[in-house]
Amino acid sequence: MTAMAEPEVGRARVRKEDERLITGRTRWTDNITLPGMVHMALLRSPTAHARITAMDTSAAKEMPGVIAVYTGDDLDPGGEVGMPNAWPITPDQKTPRRPMLAQGTVNFAGEAVAAVIARSAAEAEDALAEIDVDYEDLPVVLGLDNAVADGAPLVHEDMGTNKSAEWIFDSSQAGSGGDVQQAISSSDVVVTRRFRQQRLVPAFMEPRSVVVDPTAPQLTMWSATQVPHILKTMVAMTLGLPEHHVRVIAPDVGGGFGGKLAVTPEECAAVVVAQKLGKPVKWTESRSETMVSAHHGRDQMQDITISASRDGTITGLKVDLLADMGAYLGIVGGGVPVLGAFMFNAIYKIPAYRFSCTTVFTNTTLTDAYRGAGRPEATFAIERIMDELAAELGMDPMQLREKNWIAHDEFPYTTVSTLTYDSGNYEAATAKAMQLFDYDGLRREQAERRDRGDRVQLGIGISTFTEMCGLAPSRVLGSLDYGAGGWEHAAIRMLPTGKVEVVTGASPHGQGHETAWSQIVADQLGVGFDDIEILHGDTQSSHKGLDTYGSRSLTVGGIAVVKAAEKVIAKARKVAAHLMEASEDDLEFADGKFTVRGTDTSTAIQDIALAVFAAHDLPDGVEPTLDSEAVFDPENFSFPHGTHLCATEVDTETGQVRLRSYVCVDDIGKVINPLIVEGQMHGGLAQGIAQALYEEAVYDEFGTLTSGTFADYLVPSAMDLPSFTTDRTETAATSNPLGVKGVGEAGTIASTPAVVNAVVDAVRHRGVNDIEMPLSPMRVWRAVHKGDTAAGGPGAEAGGGLGSIDSAHGGAQ
């Protein structure tokens, strides 16, 4: 009798990769030094919109160490190369060409206009100042409303409009629900709001960096990217290179948050320059360059209308978005707000829904995927307006949610936006969260503080969120005109000594794939956690993959690993049966051993690996390998959900907001490694809270980014955040064999509305029913100051409408 080994899945393993990542003793792209390598520095436009009338690079070419200076025309004389947009959201989408270096015009401040190549990075940067560029200013287009106004100046003159595309979903046309106008016009209560999703900077820790070595027939590119596989294919297509002559390596990558889901002008320019010079080229950006030229996130104007009957039953939801794309479309581009289209209805049963989104160009840095990508924006809007609807109805905001959410016995549930949620239990997560939070106790304290007019008011914010992640079923992506599939690849190599190499197409940039995949494979194959090595991020060893974004690694890539392991076992079973002279049907596989049922005859998988390596005694027709690969294409998204509760203290004299407590109970299905989940939640919460309270990319009227350093772009530290109370319920996903759901974006998606709801709740009685993000102390103070009846504000009537009528008559609180 042998005891079953303790399963690896579910253990809070410290991550394998931590030591090298935390100490920095690893191979970052910028650490790579090749013989004969030269350095590239980029001159960036100081102006947001201008015609380049002249450029003189002669003085720069004479600077010490300078090897070459290139303009846009030097790199691309035909003006044919444009960075890819892989998601044209409509057939008539307007997609301006985004060159490697500006040609003719610059369209945002920070756009690269010339490249200096020098023997050292310092010499390259010194020479930038010697390039003389004449700019003839063009009118600067800033702000969504301005950009779509009649007669607005144009970002791209030749397009004739600042609108890129309009994408519409209407439940009455899709057959998934009723007509929203009809619903709104026939409802008792209608609440309308305009919410602004401010622009954010992804703020990954490692700046972008690329090294290109052109000295072999197969060109090698190292890049600090989330997407080496996509990059390989896209660089080949964009620059017209044979794909088999391109190898891309993402070595250890220091964060991305979507900001490195990109195919950049800098990467392509480095390839062209390296080929021209026949020498390896390195480009590493400064933080100042990251801020102005790496893509930003969010930046939407959301007009949202919700209607309900008097008892709080939601009857309709209408959303009209303007989404600021910046000057160009990135690789996902307009697809970001479109992803949100499916999430505005959230966890609620909504009978009629209409969504429209217009993507708009302005003279700003482009926007693209940023942690959550469309789903945080949608979640914010619906969770904020649920609170406003509750106030209007005079209902407790949690009761309103309960009244409308999908009950646990109604799954699988097809929503008004046509997704089928496979599983969920909103009641269970909410009950646990309410208890951990002491909801009733905090409501009592809130009432006491209000009664005594305390300088510090308490507010409670709710966010009962869900999201679609695990991107994505390829057929769904196809129906949305996305330019690729959503599958993932894995391979397992059984080595002669019994050790295991696992190849994954999901390229990590800090998530902990090496640990989690090792845990999965250890259980699947019954080999030791430390006997497994995870190979990733190099298109030569990992030849297939679709990389890491959209909380897809585990739910898609992890399942591919399971499928590959199953194939290894199936192959090994044949050999084991042969070696033990038993029938395959009589073999049981557990703990890494095949045992003949009812006997103590067994063979370990490591022994089979060695026997297969020797290949001296294999059954007829069996290939001498256990190695296997698998590609998994999910049939559905995964739908993590959770209940987040936030208590804020608002100092009404200064407007300062302090997070008093934050409780979240998330349901992400089965958990592989609770420690990694905890890390994802904490980081995600910090990022979502940062949107609510701190971060904003601000442009002045000239299109200059005024929040261009971390002195002005306020990323919070642990000092600014409370101790989070995180907990889980576990409702297994039915859409994959592990029962797992994504967790990488959950905290970011859920937390922003919880915080804003809490702040508004704290001062609603002071005449406040919304505050624009980020909720800076000045904005909060001013909202309170203006809301007071003495200042002509609505004061305690801010609850508005029916709610205040009910309160006045002693009705529901």
Partner: protein, 284 residues
């Protein structure tokens, strides 16, 4: 983020440093810890021809007792100021303000004199220096001279230091037995002060015998809230008196406008925070 090329000089005495600055002319910069200068160099907002590093001059470091004053060497780090018993006993306000400066890494490298000479109006040590009537001992080509804090701070990032001058030390008159509080207001813990109030008081019983109040970031230079001081002295420090006195806090201020605060809000904050600072200082 690579600075433009510059010559680097690291003298070992103040005399050498002054000479090095005089030799280098107007395009020289003094490196006194580097917590502000290095970012400026890296972003190429400044491109001095010569950087004179004071870090190797031993005589500029340390705190000593000179009878009626505590004398702090200009190159004493924030960390050393923070934990110095003389500063704690005789210039508590300065210790309290230094506690709030940036983070431990910065406090181990940044220096008291560097911070004053940089004269960032959002810097946390200017207002305490002004409130405590500190005197700056300056050495230039013509020898040493002493300048009051009120004369020293002239404008945004501008002091009475001539290009070849070195701030040698700061004489802080002893405020023995005074209680103090530095009320700092910012959006995230490691950000600069939007507004801050430096308050130190000498109480006799429940009465304010003396009060010194300085405001951070309420003008291009630190501001002394004299009207508040006058409204407090000789009164019992009850909540109403403090509130009424703090109403004078914005008098004579001319704060800047930035994304975090406009003039109205900064002046409002100055009043609220002054009340809180005095209350906390009175409470010890």
């Amino acid at each position: 983020m690579i600075p433009a090329p510059f010559d680097y000089v690291a003298p070992s005495t103040v005399d050498e440093a002054v000479r090095a600055l005089a030799d280098a002319g107007e395009d020289a910069k003094v490196l006194a810890g580097g917590q502000s200068l290095l970012p400026v160099l890296r972003m190429r907002l400044a491109a001095p021809t010569t950087v004179v590093d004071l870090g190797k001059i031993g005589e500029l470091k340390g705190v000593r007792d000179e009878g009626d004053a505590v004398v702090i060497g200009a190159m004493t780090t924030h960390y050393d100021v923070q934990r110095d018993p003389l500063v704690h006993d005789h210039a508590l306000l300065l210790a309290r303000a230094t506690d709030t400066v940036a983070d431990p890494q910065v406090r181990h490298r940044g220096t008291f004199g560097g911070s004053l000479a940089h004269a960032d109006p959002a810097g946390d040590l200017l207002a305490p220096a002004l409130a405590l009537d500190a005197e700056m001992v300056i050495q230039g080509t013509g020898g040493r001279r002493t300048v009051s804090a009120a004369e020293f701070f002239q404008d945004f990032f501008t002091t009475s230091l001539a290009p070849e001058d070195i701030l040698v030390e700061v004489r802080v008159p002893k405020h023995t037995g005074w209680t103090a509080h530095y009320e700092k207001f910012n959006r995230v813990a490691q950000a600069w002060s939007m507004v801050a109030v430096a308050a130190t008081v000498r109480a006799e019983g429940g009465t304010v015998a003396e009060a010194r109040i300085g405001l951070t970031n309420m003008a291009s230079i630190p501001v002394r809230a004299t009207a508040v001081e006058q409204a407090l002295v000789g009164r019992s420090a009850d909540a109403e008196t403090i509130r009424a006195a703090a109403e004078h806090a914005a008098e004579g201020t001319s704060p800047t406008v930035d994304g975090n605060a406009d003039v109205e809000y900064r002046q409002h904050l100055a009043k609220v925070l002054t009340g809180r600072a005095v209350e906390a200082a009175m409470a010890g």
